[in-house]
Amino acid sequence: MAPSSRHRLLSVLVENRSGVLARVAGLFSRRGYNIYSLAVAPTDDERFSRITVVVDVESAPLEQIVKQLHKLVNVLKIVELDPYAAVERELMMATVSADPDKRGQVIELVEVFGGSILDVGVDQLTVCLAEEPSRLDDFEELVRPYGIVSIQRSGQLALPKLDRRARLRSVAQRTA
């Protein structure tokens, strides 16, 4: 399910060392904070990793969560991403029942959502979508009647939206 109003999105830059994820996860459980989803991988600079975490702010005030996270020695930077000022994606892989006579309909749905077909079986399809979390919810709802065999979602990823005004200005300056 897509996050709701009780959720906030944090992008946490950490040192890429063994045990750092355990420290972050340990902090959340020790302080009673709930993690809604979490995705982690090294950044382009392999000394660092980025943890994109959706937290439940009903379990604790966001300010406390951020401050406690900051106290971890391996945490370098925390940014709260405002959904209106961020681009967000989540990956979903799903295996869906699709008898040969229904297969066309499922494929059509996947295409509407800009997904792709990863694998085809006798009466099942495995599909893949990278979309905003709420769009994944929509897709899930629509394929449910066909029969969902299994679904795997990655947790949300996000980066801040680029400042378009600034860019226009610099383009304008260049042309001037």
């Binding site: 355990a22 420290r23 020790r30």
Partner: protein, 580 residues
């Protein structure tokens, strides 16, 4: 220069200026115990690793320098969990070195393997598993840096046996912070916030300074004294801050909280401005939080940003080192004064507020009744001890009623003369912590005021004290009970006493103490108190234990029952008229 990992470790500790290590050897740490023989660092062999941890805490609390302990893997590492948790709660700088099984064996359930870094993750400020001998100097330098800067706390270095047996080319890192990109404590308060704090102070009619343990950690006692002189604002000192501002100062109101005195509790409660300095609004201080100091604005200064707003939303949050912020604040207040005087503006008169405070003090003093003969009151023992010992005596306590009485009835006139387990409330803290305190301040008299229950948890460290010639003094307030628990059962469980009786005679404390190499005395009546203290004061070459047989039914008052509002403080039968 080629060194083994073990040699590099000891040399790194020497580079850090370590003068003493508390510890016990064992399999995985064996390589490191060899170069200790050739090092000027003193090693004190404890009888239980928990004792090493508390001793290191006591050392750290009286010197302001980090305490160092070293133990082996597995059971030894788990034995230090309690003192690490204790130090974490009370922000005590410790560096704990643990041995670990060889890197090839990690994860195989090898003999004496425990996931030490995993177990201690949530009770250390940071910990490290060293995987190569070449990392040792860097990690040690980082560990001391993290333990002692910002909000101090315990750190742990886990060293596998093959790493300490390995070799490395010696070096010493120039800047320990270089490899810690995510660690940069803020020390200077934000000037705008400091000015805002000064403005609130200038407008307050009923201000109180709520001084916490952070004052001691930041060595801010002198700065605090200057702020008080400048403003005339009264000060409460929490359990962790006793001595941070002298009890004999007329503006010192003493300890607030669950067993604080009426005036300190009520002054906070009725205040219109709390100036919280290095304090964390602990539940034992605030009582029911939504009823705590309802009319007060709050200025909150702490070096740990996460403390600001954790419990109570401050009106003026200031992240910074207490000493630096208080100094800045005093400066701003002083220059504001000059400016207001020039413009004819006047700060509110604190006279009526202080008159009210004095009235509370007169009406509700701390009091108990010691009959001339017969049963010995614990408070009487503490007062006699206080009056018979030097002004700068270091007092170390266990956890329970005796701890509260010690904090209430002692007069702490110097910083770092009160050592106790405040946040975690660890029974068994006193004896080993007193040993560490005496090692840190060998010229000072160190008294442990302990309970009979607590004493039984870590008494064996008196063997350490006797064999290492560390002449601490221990007063056991033997009330034959787990007294604090008994008090709760008396008050809140209809006097249904469940598993709190200990017996006054079993063990025989005098024989036990003597067997551990101490001078031991027993005191059963009021008139024996002074002579026994005299005798103890004259022993200088070994530890002394006095067992005081005290009234088993005595209760700690005042008391704010758990979960109640601080408005509902119970002052107790002997103290003042009204109350509740």
């Amino acid at each position: 220069m080629k060194l083994t990992g073990a040699q590099a470790l000891i040399k790194s500790l020497e580079m850090q200026g370590v003068e003493v290590i508390f510890g016990m050897p064992g399999g995985a740490i064996l390589p490191v115990y060899d170069p200790i023989i050739d090092s000027p660092i003193r090693h004190i062999l404890v009888r239980h690793e928990q004792g090493a941890g508390h001793a290191a805490e006591g050392y750290a609390q009286v010197t302001g320098r980090p305490g160092v302990l070293m133990v082996t893997s597995g059971p030894a590492a788990t034995n230090v969990v309690t003192p690490l948790a204790d130090a974490y709660m009370d922000s005590v700088p410790l560096v704990c070195i643990t041995g670990q099984v060889g890197t090839q064996s990690i994860g195989t359930d090898a003999f004496q393997e425990a996931d030490t870094t995993g177990i201690t993750m949530s009770i250390t400020k940071h910990n490290w598993l060293v995987t190569d001998a070449s990392q040792i100097p860097t990690v040690v330098a980082q560990a001391f840096h993290v333990a002692t800067t910002g909000r101090p706390g315990p750190v742990l270095i886990d060293i596998p046996k093959d790493v300490s047996n390995g070799t490395m080319e010696w070096y010493w890192p120039e800047d320990p912070a270089a490899g810690l990109p995510g660690y940069r404590p803020t020390l200077r308060g934000h000037p705008r916030m400091v000015r805002e704090a000064a403005r609130l102070i200038g407008e307050a009619e009923r201000p109180v300074i709520y001084a916490g343990g952070g004052i001691l950690k930041a060595r801010a006692s002198a700065a605090l004294a200057r702020l008080v002189e400048l403003t005339g604002i009264p000060v409460v000192t929490t359990l962790m801050a006793r001595g941070a501002f002298p009890d004999d100062h007329p503006l010192c109101l003493g300890m607030p909280g669950m067993h604080g005195n009426f005036t300190a509790i009520t002054a906070l409660q009725k205040s219109d401005l709390l100036i919280a300095l290095g304090a964390r609004f602990d539940d034992r201080v605030t009582g029911r939080i939504d009823a705590f100091a309802p009319d007060a604005k709050v200025i909150h200064v702490d070096v740990d940003p996460a403390e600001l707003g954790k419990v109570r939303q401050p009106d003026v949050p200031i992240v910074g080192d207490c000493r630096l912020v208080i100094e800045d604040l005093a400066e701003v207040i002083e220059s504001e004064r000059v400016r207001s005087a020039e413009s004819g503006r006047q700060a509110p008169d604190l006279g009526p507020w202080m008159a009210q405070v004095r009235q509370w003090q007169e009406r509700y003093p701390l009091r108990y009744d010691q009959p001339e003969q017969g049963v010995l009151k614990p408070q009487f023992v503490i007062e006699r001890l206080r009056d018979a010992t030097p002004d700068d005596t270091i007092v170390v306590s266990g956890v329970g009623q005796h701890q509260m009485w010690a904090s209430q009835y002692w007069k702490f006139n110097h910083p770092n003369t009160w050592v106790n387990s405040g946040g975690l409330g660890t029974m068994g803290f006193a004896v080993p912590a007193a040993i560490g305190a005496k090692v840190g301040q060998p010229g000072r008299t160190v008294w442990a005021i302990d309970g009979d229950g607590c004493f039984q948890m870590t008494a064996q460290e008196l063997v350490t004290a006797a064999s290492e010639r560390i002449p601490i003094k221990v007063a056991i307030l033997n009330n034959a009970y787990l007294g604090m628990v008994r008090q709760w059962q008396e008050m809140f469980y209809d006097q249904r006493y469940s598993e709190v009786y200990l017996s006054p005679d079993l063990p025989d404390y005098v024989k036990w103490a003597e067997a551990m190499g101490c001078v031991a005395l027993r005191v059963e009546s009021p008139e024996e108190v002074d002579p026994a203290i005299d005798k103890a004061s004259n022993v200088d070459d070994r530890p002394v234990v006095i067992e005081f047989r005290t009234d088993a039914t005595e209760m700690v008052y005042p008391m704010v029952p758990a979960g109640a509002s601080n408005d509902d403080v119970v002052v107790g039968p002997a103290q003042g008229e009204g109350g509740h």
